[in-house]
Amino acid sequence: MVFLIRLQLREDYSNLIFYLSPLVAVALTLFFGSFIFLILDLSPIESFKIFFISPISNSYGISELFVKATPLAIIALGLSYCFKNNIYNIGAEGQLTMGAIFGGGIGLLFNDSTSIFLLPLMILFGAIGGAFWATIPAILKTKFNTNEILTSLMLTYVALFILDYFVVGPWKDPAGYGLPKSMPFPDAGRLPVLIDGLRVHIGVYFAFIICLITYIIYNKTLFGFKLKVTGLSSKASQYAGFKYKKLIFYTFIISGACAGLAGLFEVSGPIGLLYRDISPNYGFTAIIVAFLGRLNPFGIILSSLLIALTYLGAEDAQLFLKIPSAVGFVFQGLVLFFLLGTDFLNKYKLFIK
């Protein structure tokens, strides 16, 4: 059969389609998602209610939505620097883990501290830990031309094993019945919650501040302009005399620091100690969030809320529909598939012969 569709590169790059395609992707995901529920012998409407509406129908649920969206937004905002620069740092999960180890380590070191400086120090070390872990692929990329996709991914697993070593080894809680977890952090090392009785914490403010700073950097500074130019055409950037290697370094450090911050917020906020599974794949899911938000700071905030909802909905689905919470991953995967697919329509015009 001859292909009846002809493609032509769009010259009129459409901003409208660019920002509409995430919505189309979400709509398609819901459409296909309803088939999944039908196959499982569940009513799609009832299931969607449990998945997307009932989790946020009370104050506890809304608080949880922000608890989940905060790390996703912070990591995705950091990643957007890399992705804008066409650098594929996919090791945010490892940088998150390193941030938790560094910042959490400070909390365990001063575990009898009541000082108000403990938390800021932990936050600082969290960011340093993440940035440190991101510097490794940055150095390898700039000094040895090593592919950052593979190194950042491999380092993720190294970081996870390092955390595992600490929580079953030197940092294991002696009073923890031999469980692989650390002692709880002292109260001075816990992230303050915004509303008593709920888990939503001041990390939300950080997410909004990082979002605003990122917006300003992208739109009002030379650094943001350099990122944009380099991302669109590395040749143009070379002609303009931008130092590409420096840009790689900065973007890696920013995204690593953000991921580390998110990791520290997780352990010093909702979790309160260190153990093996501190992150339900936030570092990888944030990649979806960054793409779905079109690398736009405000778009990322919106998409982090939406993806956070898939986490919550999946938990409720497990409870009430008796389907595994991994159903959230199905939706996350689908939404990314459709988003990438619909992007095609923005790049090319279709002609049907």
Binding site: L7, Q8, L9, I36, L40, Y88, I90, L140, K143, F144, N145, T146, N147, I149, L150, T151, L153, M154, L155, Y157, V158, F161, I162, D164, Y165, V168, G169, N281, F284, T285, I287, I288, F291, I323, P324, A326, V327, G328, F329, V330, F331, Q332, G333, L334, L336, F337, L340, G341, D343, F344, K347
Partner: protein, 289 residues
């Protein structure tokens, strides 16, 4: 150490390493044609669960193997359509495939966790895995089709100008890689475990990915590398049993660290990089550009 113990350890290494060989050799062929598929873990899990469910329902090993392979064809076909026809970003698409596969396999397998089955003898698959490596090595270095695959992976524009069908070649290599990953998953749930458990591939997809780089895209090195990686994992358990005081996590991170070192070694020299990595890896191909 007695002979029996050594043979016992070798036996365990053989049985536990085979999935790495399957998934790794598939990904090697995919990458040789210039496509990086990060979806191995998802493909393996779906292959594992479809094979398992079919076996529980039909009781027929042939059907279960067949459907497991079909699941790999379908999922990698979707991946191929996205990255080849719609020219999506290979990294993002591969990650989406992994995330989707983790979720889908958990949902499908929900009712089947803990169901007992009669496992297949792993030695068939071990023999097949060795034959596969031989076949792929021969295919890539000695056949014309293998040469086309490599040409497409080295420089797709030149290959296209010479009249080779870049898209079709890549469709076939991606689907081959997908089927191999499904087989790796099938082996895990039907021969190795034999049972179904959510996320039971336990990161082997990522190790297989590392393995391809570690082997510098060469089939025989991949086989050796797989047994080094597999051996290190088994050695860790045995060393701890005889009282060596090195933390197990140290051994677990070895494959990843070794891969980074190899990667730095080959990429620090332009010529060396050219001789090992496919030049068009992860670069989308568009006819009309």
């Amino acid at each position: 150490m007695s002979i029996e113990l050594i043979i016992g350890i070798l036996n365990i290494v053989l049985i536990s390493t085979t999935p790495l060989v399957f998934a790794g050799i598939g990904e090697l062929v995919t990458e040789k044609s210039g496509v990086l598929n990060l979806g191995l873990e998802g493909l393996m899990l779906v292959g594992a669960v479809t094979g398992f469910i079919t076996l529980v329902i039909t009781g027929n090993y042939f059907y279960s193997l067949f459907l497991s392979i079909i699941s790999g064809v379908i999922l990698s076909g979707i991946f191929a359509f996205l990255v080849l026809n719609l020219m999506t970003n290979q990294i993002a698409t591969g990650l989406a495939l992994t995330i989707f596969g983790i979720g889908l396999s958990a949902m499908l397998g929900k009712k089947f966790g803990g169901t007992p089955i009669d496992g297949l003898n792993p030695y068939y698959f071990i023999v097949i895995s060795f034959l596969l490596v031989f076949f792929v090595a021969y295919f890539l270095s000695k056949t014309k089709t293998g040469l086309i695959v490599r040409a497409v992976g080295e420089n797709h524009n030149s290959a296209y100008a010479l009249g080779y069908n870049v898209i079709k070649t890549r469709y076939l290599t991606i689907i081959f890689g997908g089927v191999m990953s499904s087989l790796a998953g099938y082996y895990i749930s039907i021969c190795y475990a034999p049972m179904w458990q959510e996320g039971m591939t336990a990161g082997r997809g990522w190790i297989a990915l590392a393995l391809v780089v570690f082997a510098t895209w060469k089939p025989w090195r991949l086989l050796v590398g797989a047994y080094i990686f597999g051996g290190v994992a088994i050695m860790q358990m045995n060393l701890q049993a005889i009282g060596v005081k090195l933390p197990g996590q140290f051994f677990n991170m070895m494959p990843y660290l070794a891969t980074i070192i190899v990667l730095v070694f080959i990429s620090s020299n332009k010529l060396r990089l050219k001789l090992s990595a496919p030049s068009s890896l992860n670069i989308p191909f568009a006819k009309n550009q």
